[in-house]
Amino acid sequence: MSVTVLYFASLRDAAGVASETLPLPASLPALYENLREKHGFSLPAQRLRVAMDGEFVDWNAAPREGAEIAFIPPVSGG
C-alpha cells in the first residue's frame, strides 16, 4: 500500500530527490503537510496544485494505491 511522490523545481531542491515512495496517505493535504514538515517546503498547500497519475485532481481526491502523485508549485513557463 504505497504511492510515489514526484518533486519539481523548488520542491525537488528542498527534498533533495526527484521522487520517493511512501505509504498510502489518508488524504492529499495530509500527505503534503507531512512532507512539508519533513523536507522544510516553504510553499503552503494553498499555493500548489496537485496531480495524480498525470492529471490535475482536486485536493479532496482520494489517494489511490500505487498512484503517482505530484505537488505542482506555481508554474513559470513562457
Binding site: 519539481f8 523545481a9 531542491d13 498525470g54 508549485p73 506555481p74 508554474v75 513559470s76 513557463g77 513562457g78
Partner: protein, 138 residues
Amino acid sequence: MTRFALSDAAFDPAPLRRRLQSPQAGAFASFEGWVRDHHAGRAVLGLRYEAYAALAEAEGLRIIAEATRRFDIADAACVHRVGGLAPGEMAVWVGVSAAHRGPAFDACRWILDEVKSRVPIWKHERYADGSSDWLHPE
C-alpha cells in the same frame, strides 16, 4: 503533427509555421518568448526550464484543443523549450492560422497566457551576482 511539444534543444519554427498554412487561412499570428538578460533588475546569465513532461504535454494539448473551440481559427501549435537556455534564446513559440486576423491574434495571446498559467513548467534563473532562483509567481 503534434500541436504541443516540449523541446530540449533549440528549434526552428519555420516547419511548424508551414504545417499551419492552408489556402483558406488568410491570417497567421505568432509569438516568440525570448530569454531576457535582466529580471527584476538583476542581470540574468542563463536559465533552465524544468517540466513535468507527461502532464505538461497533456495540458498543452488541452489548451490547443480549447483554443480551437473558443476561437474561429484554422489551426494552432505551441512548442516550449526545456533544459538550459542563454539570453536571447527562444523559450516558447505559439503559432495560429485563421481565416481572419482578429481570431488569429486573440487565440495566439490566449494560448500563450494559458500556457504560462497552467502548464507545469518552471524557470530557474542564474544571476550575475552568483545567486539563482526558481520562479514561483504569486
